[in-house]
């Protein structure tokens, strides 16, 4: 087999299977790190607390909803990667 064949037909398919969990946790970390943008006046999920508290909403409840939003995002990613792991992951 040529380099391309051994890479494409043998190595990468196996690597893909064992790489699912670490990629999943990296993506979850990436989603969580996007919160840092909120502190630099980018209006993302965390950043909305400023607007909402200026509008007079209760600050604690604002954070409860923000937390719920992040939970949905991270749990969705982790569910997706768990499904992929079950389908293609290396059986241990």
């Amino acid at each position: 087999m040529s380099f391309g064949q051994s890479l494409g037909l043998v190595v990468l398919p196996q690597a893909f299977r064992s790489v699912i969990p670490p990629v999943g946790s990296t993506l979850i970390a990436l989603a969580k790190n996007s919160a840092i943008a909120g502190a630099f006046s980018v209006t993302e999920l965390l950043g909305t607390y400023r607007t909402l508290s200026e509008l007079g909403y209760n600050i604690v409840w604002t954070f409860v909803w923000i937390a719920l939003g992040y939970l949905i995002i991270t749990l969705a990613i982790s569910a997706l990667f768990n499904a992929m792991e079950r389908k293609w992951g290396v059986a241990r």
Binding site: S6, K32, N33, I36, L46, Y49, S53, L71, L75
Partner: protein, 285 residues
């Protein structure tokens, strides 16, 4: 045939020549990039005396040192407290009592799924806590939950026979845990624990966002000073090696501990994983 060369043929003379060519070409490209960056730095006058002058002043050196001290204070508190919280939550997750197990699972999963900054902001803004306790509490909740998972998987990764043998000897569950499983688990998990502590150390820089006067905050104060012609890049050049150095020191410490453990006759039977240096890039998890 070993696994290393099972997939590829051993390179012949032609391939070796080609590889050498690739090597030279990429070295040239990398050197070119470095030269370009250096040119940009000089071109934008980053090495002028005005921009580096602040580091000569005693007041500014003290400001930086105070910031460094505050960073280390927050890190020390967060490290100790998160190790304690991690132990507590891991014990809860390994408990035989179902409600305790569920509660600790809920806590661990919740705080692991939450960005650490959301917790810090919640404690700082909504609960109106001082910056240092807010930072330490946020870091503790997050890193404690991650460490709980590390401890739990460590205990579970100890060979099943060890637990069974200990129970067969008539030990109670607490004895099995404290004499047999935990000592082995901690040795196996040391690299993971240390890299989590490296994460905690780097995350103390988030304290800057809630006006905690730590190292990055001191750097920002100097960098935004018009008298020194806004020395942002010099400040980065001074501050980042110190952060990297602290992380490397921590990884080196982990390596030292694991080497010492390997030499210890008490643990001869246990396979001690070599400590890996935690990633040195700013990674906030």
């Amino acid at each position: 045939m070993t696994t290393a060369n099972a997939l590829y043929d051993v390179p012949g003379p032609k391939t070796r020549k080609r590889h050498r060519l690739y090597g030279i070409a990429s070295t040239v490209v990398i050197l070119g990039l470095l030269a370009w960056i250096l040119y940009l730095l000089f071109d934008t006058d980053q090495f002028t005396y005005t921009k580096w002058m602040p580091f000569e002043y005693k007041g500014i050196q003290e400001l930086l040192l105070r910031g460094l001290g505050n960073t280390l204070k927050a890190f020390g508190l967060a490290a100790v407290l998160s190790l304690a919280l991690g132990t507590l939550l891991a014990v809860g997750r390994l408990s035989d009592h179902r409600p305790v197990r569920w509660l600790s699972t809920l806590v661990v999963e919740f705080f692991r799924a939450m960005p650490v900054l959301v917790m810090i902001f919640f404690i700082f803004v909504a609960l109106k806590v001082q910056p240092l306790p807010a930072l330490v509490a946020g870091l503790t909740l997050y890193n404690g939950s991650v460490l709980a998972e590390v401890f739990r998987s460590g205990v579970n990764s100890v060979e099943r026979g060890q637990r069974e043998a200990a129970f067969a000897l008539g030990m109670r569950k607490t004895q099995v845990m404290s004499y047999v499983l935990v000592p082995q688990a901690v040795r196996a998990m040391l690299p993971a624990i240390i890299s989590q502590l490296v994460v905690a150390l780097k995350d103390t820089s988030l304290g800057y966002l809630i006006t905690y006067e730590e190292f990055l905050h001191a750097g920002k104060l100097i960098a935004s000073n018009l008298d020194y012609d806004l020395p942002f890049i010099p400040v980065v050049m001074v501050i980042s090696p110190i952060y990297i150095g602290m992380c490397m020191l921590l990884s080196w410490f982990a390596g030292w501990v694991s080497r010492r453990e390997q030499r210890s006759p008490k643990t001869e039977a246990v396979d001690v994983a070599p400590a890996e240096p935690g990633t040195l890039l700013p990674r906030v998890q």
